[in-house]
Every structure is written in structure tokens, then in C-alpha cells.
Amino acid sequence: MKLKKILPQLATLFVVVLIFGFFTMNAQLNMENRGIDFGYGFLTQESSFDVQFSLIDYSGSDSYGRAYLVGLLNTLLVSVLGIIICTIIGVIIGIARLSPNYLIRTTAAWYVEFFRNIPLLLQIFFWYYAALRALPLPQDAEAIFGASYLTIKGFYTPSLNWENLEIFIYSVIAAIVAIVFVRIHAKKLRENQGKHLPVLNISIAILFVLPLLTFLFGGVNVGYETPELKQLAKTSFKFEGGLSIPPELLSLVIALSLYTATFVAECVRAGIQGVGKGQREAAASIGLNRKQVLNLIIMPQALRIIIPPTTNQYLNLTKNSSLAAAIAYPDLVLVFAGTALMQTGKAIEIVSITMLTYLTLSLSISFFMNWYNAKIAIVEK
């Protein structure tokens, strides 16, 4: 009986060790033959390649380690923008799928069926090579809201010039901390005395008033710089100044968010439908009005169903952002597993670092979500 349990485990262990041993042995032999040495020392060496778009200062004289950071930040930028936009679209479409209006319902369903069934890579290609290429040249671009321009070379919009930005950020942090305290206090008040504080209104007020005060007393000031059209040569124009978003980033964010929004929409729909009809009826029968039913009964239960699969979709979006390599947006894969790998030839080190980065990202988010799920799970009696 005991043997029956130990034997298959030993066999598994043996196979795993054998495979890993085989791989390591071969890797050592291969590297010896090709004269490559294993090590992560190259990270501090000068990279001597340039990156088109980066959030931090970077030039060819910086190290590979910094190039890695540039790639990672670009990946995170795409992911965060994509997650925000796909959530907005996804929630709207998900709710629209449950609309009593036949036309809205059908349109939303077609949106989901359409964008979900076309490979993401094809969509990215479409936006980058076909749709955004149809935009006007900088000199022909028309202004949107007076100062923003959508051109074939990207999106140009005024940038904000902050004075004493730190004070402003501190005030926002202070406001968030204050809101947390207000919420705790309101909860205590509700549980002990049954009093309801208008938490949402107070929170919004704090969030606006505190940063606003810094403008009046903290010396914070904000100006803006508009993009200006500059003539480089006879037929070559270019926008300078302001904030510029390259077309790679634009098409990547559009494609990722439209694609992922279909999955988010399905999660939202399933979540709302997953709350039993009886809950709604019971809430109505004890005299709650429509808004209270939605806020106090439906949403808390629906969110429990919606959040775990939606987080999965956010993770997928983050992983899918690696498709950036296909349209030369300098994300982690392109900068590090592409250019840096070509230059150093350190295949094992670079691919393993890249994979480990994504793995850490995914695992930490899923650990957080598991913890969160356990925390909000309904404790059944």
C-alpha cells in the first residue's frame, strides 16, 4: 500500500531530475563549445543601443540594466492604460448586454462576438498598419479641442508644467489617507449607533478640496505647453513641445483594450446575472429603493463574482502587451529579449530574466487576489 504511493512519486521525481540534468549538462557543453560564459555581469555593461520611447532618461551609454528598466516601465505603461480603458469599455458593454433595449443588447453582443473572435495580433496590426496610417500628416492635421492633434506620427496634446509637483502629490496622498480614516469612522458609527454618514460625498469633497488648497497656499502652479508645428524641411513637418504619444503605443492600447474589454464585459454580465433574482425581490420587499438595491444588495454580491475572473483578464492583458514586439513598441520583450539579446548573445540569461519578470508580476497579482478573495468571501453559517 505504501509502495503504491511512493513509487509514482519517485518516478516523477526521477523524470524531472533527469530532464533538468540533461538540459543543464547540454547547456554547459554547448556554452563551452561556443565559448560563451554564463553570468549576469552584462547587466552593468554599456548597452550602446537607443530606445525610441522611454519614460525615464535613457541613452546608449547607459547599462543593460537600465535598458531592462526602460522596457519594464514601457510594458507597465501599456498595461495600466489598457486596464483602465478596457475596464471602462467592458463595464459599459457588460451592462449594455443586459439592457431591456433590444438594439443596445444586440449591438453589445455583436461587439463582443466581433472583437473576441479575431486574433489580437491581427487587431494590433490592423490599428498600426492600416487604421493609424490613414491619419493625416502633421501639416494637414486638424486641431481637436483647439490644441491636440491626431496625426500619422502620433497623438500630440498639451503637456502640463507643474511647479512644486511634490506638494501636490503629497496632498493627494494625504487626501486618500483622510478618506480611509473617514470610512473607518463611518463604519464604526454605523455599526455602533446606526448612523449613516454620506461617505461618498465626503470622500469626493476631501479629494477635491485638499489638492485645491495647495494651489492657493502651497505654491503649486500649473501651466501648459501646447504642441507647435515646426517645419524641418520643405515638405517635412513635425510637432514639437507638449506631450506626444507615439502611434505604436496608441495602436497597442486601442487594440489591447478593445480586445480585453470583450472578456471583461462577459465577466461583468456573468456577475450581475449570477446574483439571484430572489435577492433583488427580497431587497425590494423590505422597502429598499432601486438605488439602495443596486448599491447595497446587487453590487456587493456581483463584485465577488466579477473581480476574480476580471483580474485574470487584467493579467492576460499584461501578458498580451508583449505582442508590442510585433509593431516595434519598445516594451520589455522588444528591448530586452530582442535588442539586448541580439547584442549580447546571452540567450539563457536574458530569456530567463524576461520570463521571471512576467512570472513575478503574474504570481504577485494572483497571490494578492487570492488573499483578497478569501477576505471578501461570504462566510456561510
Binding site: 490592423f126 508583449s322 520570463m355
Partner: protein, 423 residues
């Protein structure tokens, strides 16, 4: 008859409200229609902003007049219930209808009316619409990649064989039905492999050898998805069972495997298979690029399949396990005859989603230099003779992929209904 109250339509003036309302809605639709199809602006005498908003305002007022509850007219009630419940819904309804009317002419003229399909060169495309000539000329490349033209019959023959063999299940007599699982899981993949190895790859029986680098287009999409699908399913099943056992080593090996592959993007896995994997193999050992890709995708998707199947296993009530054990079944007997048939039935939608994801992921093989449909499009797009037709290519590929994926999801839905049993 009481006085006509336009602000508060009621059943008293049903007819007059209804006629006035439908007249207004009709006018507003007519205006948009003429504007969109015939480029006529019948309200051009008005200031531009009013001219623009007029159809919307007319439609809103018309729908408002028509919103009469319990009118007793069946169609009106149905209309009100479905698209005209309140002002907000009426506004959305109108906007959607206007959008559809506005979108039809440009799309139609681009795709059909002003499009060209005749001729064999770029010069044939004179219209302002799509240039389907481009698709026609490149069609063989989009389907078969760089596979030599005179050998294409081999690919066709192999695929026809495979499709015919796939239909064996429908004509098998009742007597041999129980052998079908064996046929589809073991024999069919072997036949498929033999067909592809000898017929498409060639090199023997007087057939010319065609290297895998020349394969491509849609046929490669099928080959990669087919084999990855076949390999990832049993592997995923084994991993799911492994994750559920009480034997710690097997359990943690499975968990580690699943979490690793689920945590990394496919593109890095393919990078690994192309630049890192050769380092792990003996120097004189050569493994084809295509084989490496299929292995990589199978391992990757197996992790997702495992999680889907685990969901099914967990959803089965404990009683099923207990009942099977009480009949004296061992681990394997219990799983093969009691647990897995029920669990797999439960996870049909999840499996279909995973397989769809697999098909949609195949274009990523461009990173290792294999060009299936999307990859061929990139190649054709940069051909100096055919510059500027990216849009046509993407629309074409999107339609093909959409049809494949939509058909798969509908099929899985039917399968789900077919095997649905009430408990």
C-alpha cells in the same frame, strides 16, 4: 375625445399620438437616410447645428409620443417594451439606428461598389474602394505560404484526407461506436502525422522534400493548432489529475508546471523555444523549428487546459467519488469511468475557450520566423509591387479568422447542449 396633450401622451388620444409620433420618427429616419445614401440634405436651409440635430430631436419627440403603455396594439406594445422604454433608451435607440444608416454606404462602397477584383496587377485597382485583386493574386500565398506552386495539390490532398477521416464518427455503425474514442484520441492523430510527414513534408516516394520554413499561410495555422490541440489535451488532463492527488511530489510538480506556464506570455515561450531551447539540446541533435513551436504551444496551452479541467473536477460533488469507491473501483477505474466523463462534460465551454485562444495565438509564431496567415500578410504588405493594401489584407484575414472562431464557439455551444444532463 379629450384634448390632445402632447407632453403627456395617453391612451385617450391613441390614434392621433400614434400617427403623429410615427410620422415624426419616419421623417427623422428619412432625413438621415437621404443624407447618408443620396448625399441630400433636405434641411440645409436651417442653421448647420439645428440641421444636424433635427432628425434626432424629431425622432425623440416622435418616440415620446408613441410611448403609450397598454395601448392594446400588439406591435406598438412590443416596440415600446423593446426599444422605447424611456427617454434614455429612446435616445440610444435612435443613435444606434442613425449610426447603422450612416455606416452602410461607406462600408458598402468600399467593400463592393467601388472595389476592384479583376486583373492581375496593381494597375487594375482604379476604384476608390478596396482592391480585392491584391487578395486574389496573393490568395495562394495566404493559404499555403511559400509552398511551391506545383506541389500545392499535396497540401490539399492531405487536408481533404484529414477532413474525410474526421467524419468517420458520423458513419460508424453502432457496433463499433465504443472504439471511436480510441480512434479520435490515438489513431487519428497518428494518421494525421503520417499524412503530414509523408505528403506535405515529402522526401520519400518520389515526392520532393519541402522544408517547414516554406510552409505557411492558413494551412500552417491549421497544422499548428491541430497538433498543439492534440498534445495539450492529454497533457493538461494529466496535470489536472496531478494537481488533485494527495501525493505531494506529483502535486507540487504539477502546480509548479501549471503556474510557471500560466505566468509567462506565449511570445516569451516562443522566444525560449527558438533561442534558448537549442542550448539545452545536444549539439548534433537537430529539431525542426515547427516541431519546437508545436511543443512550446502545447506545453503552454496544457497549463490552461489543466486549470479548466481542474475546475470541472472540483465541481463534481463528493458523492460521485464516494459512490465510485464504494463499488470497489481503484483510482484509474474511478477516474476513467465515473469522474472524467462527467467532469469533461462540465468543462466544454471552458475547453472551447481555451482551444479558441490557441487558434488565435497561432499568429504569434511569426517571432520564430514561421509565417502563417497574419505573417504572410506582413510579407505581402511590404512587397514593393503591392504597397498600400494593408487594409484589404487585414479585413480578409479578420473575416477568415472570425468565421473559424465563431464556428468553433457555436459548435461548442451545440456540444454543450447535446451533452447537458440534468442532475
Amino acid at each position: 375625445m379629450s384634448t390632445l396633450n402632447l407632453l403627456n401622451p395617453s391612451k385617450d388620444n391613441l390614434q392621433s399620438n400614434l400617427y403623429l409620433g410615427s410620422f415624426l420618427v419616419g421623417i427623422s429616419l428619412l432625413d438621415v437616410f437621404l443624407n447618408s445614401f443620396l448625399k441630400l440634405n433636405i434641411t440645409s436651409f436651417l442653421p448647420s447645428i439645428i440641421s444636424l440635430l433635427l432628425p434626432f430631436l424629431l425622432g425623440m419627440f416622435g418616440l415620446h409620443l408613441m410611448r403609450i403603455e397598454f395601448s392594446g396594439i400588439k406591435n406598438l406594445d412590443r416596440l415600446n417594451k423593446n426599444i422605447n422604454t424611456n427617454n434614455f433608451n429612446a435616445a440610444l435607440t435612435l443613435l444606434i439606428i442613425f449610426l447603422i444608416i450612416k455606416a452602410i454606404p461607406p462600408v458598402m462602397s468600399w467593400m463592393i461598389l467601388d472595389a476592384n477584383i479583376s486583373g492581375d496587377t496593381k494597375d487594375a485597382c482604379t476604384g476608390s474602394g478596396a482592391c480585392w485583386t491584391y487578395i486574389k493574386v496573393w490568395f495562394k500565398r495566404f493559404m499555403y505560404g511559400m509552398y511551391p506552386n506545383e506541389q500545392i495539390w499535396r497540401v490539399n490532398l492531405a487536408f481533404i484526407f484529414l477532413v474525410v477521416l474526421a467524419f468517420v464518427g458520423f458513419i460508424t455503425p453502432q457496433k463499433y461506436r465504443n472504439l471511436l474514442t480510441l480512434y479520435y484520441v490515438v489513431i487519428y492523430p497518428i494518421i494525421a502525422f503520417i499524412l503530414i510527414y509523408y505528403l506535405i513534408s515529402g522526401g520519400e516516394f518520389g515526392l520532393e522534400w519541402v522544408e517547414t520554413g516554406a510552409w505557411g499561410g492558413l494551412s500552417l495555422t491549421f497544422i499548428v493548432s491541430f497538433f498543439s490541440l492534440i498534445f495539450c489535451f492529454p497533457l493538461g488532463m494529466a496535470l489536472a489529475l496531478g494537481r488533485r492527488t494527495e501525493l505531494p511530489i506529483i502535486k507540487y510538480v504539477s502546480v509548479g508546471f501549471i503556474e510557471f506556464w500560466r505566468g509567462v506570455p506565449l511570445i516569451t515561450v516562443l522566444f525560449m523555444s527558438s533561442v534558448m531551447f537549442p542550448m539545452f539540446l545536444p549539439e548534433d541533435f537537430f529539431m525542426d523549428k515547427l516541431v519546437r513551436v508545436i511543443i512550446a504551444i502545447s506545453l503552454f496551452e496544457a497549463a490552461y487546459v489543466a486549470e479548466v479541467i481542474r475546475g470541472g473536477l472540483q465541481a463534481l460533488p463528493r458523492g460521485q467519488y464516494d459512490a465510485a469507491k464504494s463499488l470497489g473501483m481503484g483510482y484509474w477505474k474511478m477516474h476513467i469511468f465515473v469522474i472524467l466523463p462527467q467532469a469533461l462534460k462540465l468543462v466544454i465551454p471552458g475547453m472551447a475557450n481555451t482551444f479558441l485562444a490557441l487558434v488565435k495565438d497561432t499568429p504569434l509564431i511569426f517571432v520564430v520566423g514561421l509565417a502563417e496567415l497574419a505573417g504572410m500578410l506582413q510579407m505581402a504588405k511590404t512587397n514593393p509591387k503591392w504597397l498600400g493594401y494593408a487594409m484589404e489584407g487585414y479585413v480578409f484575414a479578420a473575416i477568415i479568422f472570425w468565421i473559424i472562431c465563431y464556428a468553433m464557439s457555436k459548435y461548442s455551444y451545440n456540444l454543450e447542449l447535446k451533452y447537458k444532463t440534468d442532475r
